[in-house]
């Protein structure tokens, strides 16, 4: 799995340190590599639309409890007061519920966009927001292909609001609130590898129930949140025009050209400056003749 530049740099740094310090750090690197991203598998066929996930999420993050219910034809969006919502879609296989929240991409556009590392892909997998670093530029919102980060426009001390997969709970060894409390077991928490495996197993076991796709397996370079459902993603309001390459890859070419420009251009400019020095003296005559 390709990781973003930052992780690459870190690995590079670690490799460098290893060369200097020898064995002990080498062991640490091995340990670090063995950590797998956590993710969440959401199964539309099990969801009953009870909104327990929404209520739990609101409780954990001190947000107001939901006041409206999923309804066909109404698109409920996440916003600065709710990190996750469940929507009801009318499909070819009847009415289907879909939960939405941050997708926790493997290579998140928001984290690559963030110039202060306030948006941060943790080694556990959740993409979190760190207020002490954020300057509120909202470039994460511009970049996120899923439109996940929300901004408190009406606060003098605004925060970016998004699902953080209950990162604090994960660090304590607990599951995210929604996965812990889902009465229908539609939300499963685990490592991403296990979840993809589980999703494949479910589809293979009941091919007539499931549509054959795992949303998030490849979209935007793969996401931590993966979905299975009765119908194809296009019927459930998912974005289907997303590229399978990660979004940070789009600006990689530009960023990689920066060091070369920085080294080569000044040399070129200095060279031109030196070779054209003589022009200075002949200039005025040339102007007259133009």
């Amino acid at each position: 799995m390709g990781l973003d530049r930052r992780v690459f740099m870190k690995t590079l740094g670690l490799a460098g340190t290893t060369l200097v310090l020898g064995k002990s750090v080498g062991a640490a690197t091995k340990e670090k590599n063995s950590v797998e991203f956590y993710g969440v598998l959401y199964d539309s066929t099990r969801c009953v639309g009870c909104q327990t996930c929404e209520t739990t999420c609101a409780e954990i993050h001190n947000l107001p409890a939901p006041t409206d219910a999923p309804e066909v034809g109404v698109v409920r969006k996440t916003n600065e007061t709710r990190r996750t919502v469940v929507n009801l879609h009318k499909t070819t296989k009847g009415e289907v519920y879909v939960k939405s929240q941050c997708m926790h991409c493997n290579e998140p556009a928001c984290a690559a966009a963030c110039l202060t590392q306030a948006m941060y892909k943790t080694k556990e997998g959740p993409v979190i927001w760190r207020g002490n670093k954020c300057m509120g530029c909202r470039y994460c919102m511009v970049s996120c292909p899923f439109d996940v980060p929300k901004f408190e426009y009406h606060s003098p001390n605004p925060k970016i609001i998004k699902c953080d997969m209950c990162y604090d709970r994960i660090k304590e060894g607990k599951k995210p609130g929604c996965a812990e409390n889902c009465p229908a077991e539609a939300i499963v928490f685990g490592t991403r590898r296990e979840l993809i495996h589980e999703a494949r197993k479910r589809i293979a076991a009941q091919p007539d129930v499931y549509s054959e796709f795992i949303y998030g397996e490849h979209e935007a370079g793969g996401t931590g949140e993966v979905y299975v459902a009765q119908v194809p993603p296009v019927e459930l309001g998912f974005k289907t025009n997303l590229q399978n390459e990660s979004y940070p890859a789009l600006s990689k070419g530009f960023l990689y050209s920066v060091p070369s420009v920085f080294v080569l251009l000044p040399v070129l400019l200095l060279g031109i400056h030196e070779t054209t020095k003589d022009n200075k003296n002949h200039q005025n005559e040339a102007d007259e003749n133009e």
């Binding site: 202060t116 919102m141 003098p156 001390n157 997303l242 789009l250 031109i272 400056h273």
Partner: protein
């Protein structure tokens, strides 16, 4: 109004003896107070200041029409992205004068660098208004959280460093104003280094402003999105900047008529013609690039739509047409044609930047972002304040008028 035979008080008083007296004298307004510009700009600036205060108390949403879907509006798309493109004249002219050693344009370097410097200070400064948590703005600078994978990180650093480079490029004029002879000598010696550094920074952040939008691939109308946005932004900043130089020059030569020497007045037409030729060249390269991208990405199908007509208007009406006018004006020595072409080009650049950042951004949404009147007033406040400072500096420092005699012999 004092004429070209201007006195330099501190220099006369033996380097800095009466500096306070001099500065107090200089801070008094010069020139007429009741000009049309003042009458319009003062109320706007006052209103804009109130709006800015209100914004810091009640949040960005209280004064702007920004939404969760459109987080960047007029303040970024126009003030920052377009404003910086117009400031591109400084790096192009310093390239011509200091790198190519073409002295023909020397007399307009200072005013262009001043214009560029102030544009960066004010338009990049306007960014602070748009930041939700501006107190954290130093984070990417002081090094506790370097987001090195971010294009915005690059742009932020380059803005900062480029302002410094431009300040160094302009600083001899300040030294001449203050009569600081030794300082002037030292600062002038740094010019070439600052110019080389400045051009490199400009190349990267002019294109970087375009690269900011690379990750918004699915949100920008395909006629304006391509992986070549950075190159388009860089090439168009050349003629955007030079058109601004032509436009600003035609105004400066009227408003600050007394400041400009006879010789430079005569040279102006030749300079404008030269610039129009460079503009035409850069615009041809740009138009050709756009055409290549258009063909390569097979965009014919998009043309026969409202956005397609809008695209054609931009490309034909505000790139191709002014390009031809620049060529025509250059050949026929028609200053009016060239000036009109410069204005059309500027409109075209505004259109292009807004099409990428605002108009073509989430063009499919049913509810579109339209800037609020308060966003527009704040934008005007930023522009007017910049012009005030610009005028203040020109009336005092040797920007348009010749340097004092002592400086020439250094």
């Amino acid at each position: 109004m004092k004429t070209s035979n201007f006195e330099y008080p501190i220099a006369k008083d033996n380097d800095g003896k009466s500096i306070w007296k001099f500065l107090i004298h200089e801070f008094k307004p010069k020139g007429k107070i009741l000009t049309p510009f003042n009458v319009i700009s003062v109320p706007v600036i006052m209103l804009g200041t109130l709006i800015i205060i209100y914004r810091f108390i009640h949040g960005i949403g209280a004064v702007t029409n920004l939404t969760q879907e459109v987080p960047w509006g007029l303040w970024i798309g126009f003030d920052v992205v377009t404003g910086v493109a117009f400031a591109g004249g400084a790096y192009v002219l310093t390239f011509i004068v200091y790198i190519l050693n073409n002295q023909k344009y020397h007399s307009i370097v200072r005013i262009t660098v001043l214009n560029g410097f102030l544009a960066y200070v004010f338009y990049a400064g306007a960014l602070l208004l748009d930041l939700g948590r501006p107190w954290n703005v130093i984070n990417p600078i002081i090094g506790n959280s370097f987001g090195t994978s971010s294009v915005l990180f690059l742009v932020a650093w380059h803005f900062l460093l480029y302002m410094l480079a431009q300040l160094i490029e302009f600083s001899p004029a300040v030294a001449e104003w203050l009569g600081a002879r030794r300082a002037r000598k030292i600062l002038s010696g740094m010019t070439i280094a600052a110019v080389i550094f400045g051009i490199t920074l400009s190349t990267l952040h002019q294109s970087g402003l375009g690269a900011l939008y690379l990750m918004a691939k699915d949100k920008i109308h395909p006629l304006w999105y391509s992986e070549f946005i950075p190159i388009m932004f860089l090439v168009s900043s050349i003629f955007a900047g030079l058109s601004m130089v032509i436009f600003e020059g035609s105004i400066s030569h009227k408003v600050f008529f007394n400041q400009i020497s006879e010789e430079n007045h005569h040279a102006q037409d030749g300079i404008v013609r030269g610039l129009s030729r460079i503009c035409a060249g850069a615009m041809f390269a740009y138009f050709f690039l756009q055409f290549l991208v258009f063909i390569h990405e097979k965009r014919w199908g998009l043309l026969n739509t409202p956005m397609g007509y809008w695209y054609l208007l931009e490309m034909l009406g505000f790139v191709l047409l002014p390009m031809l006018m620049f060529v025509y004006g250059y050949r026929r020595k028609s200053m009016n044609v060239i000036k009109t072409a410069a204005i059309l080009t500027m409109v075209g650049v505004i259109l292009n930047r807004l099409n990428v950042t605002v108009i073509g951004f989430r063009w499919e949404d049913t509810v579109r972002y339209v800037p609020s009147w308060m966003e527009i007033v704040v934008t005007l406040t930023v522009i007017f304040t910049e012009i005030w400072i610009f005028r203040w500096v020109i009336r005092r420092m040797p920007v348009l008028r010749d340097s004092p005699a002592w400086a020439k012999h250094q």
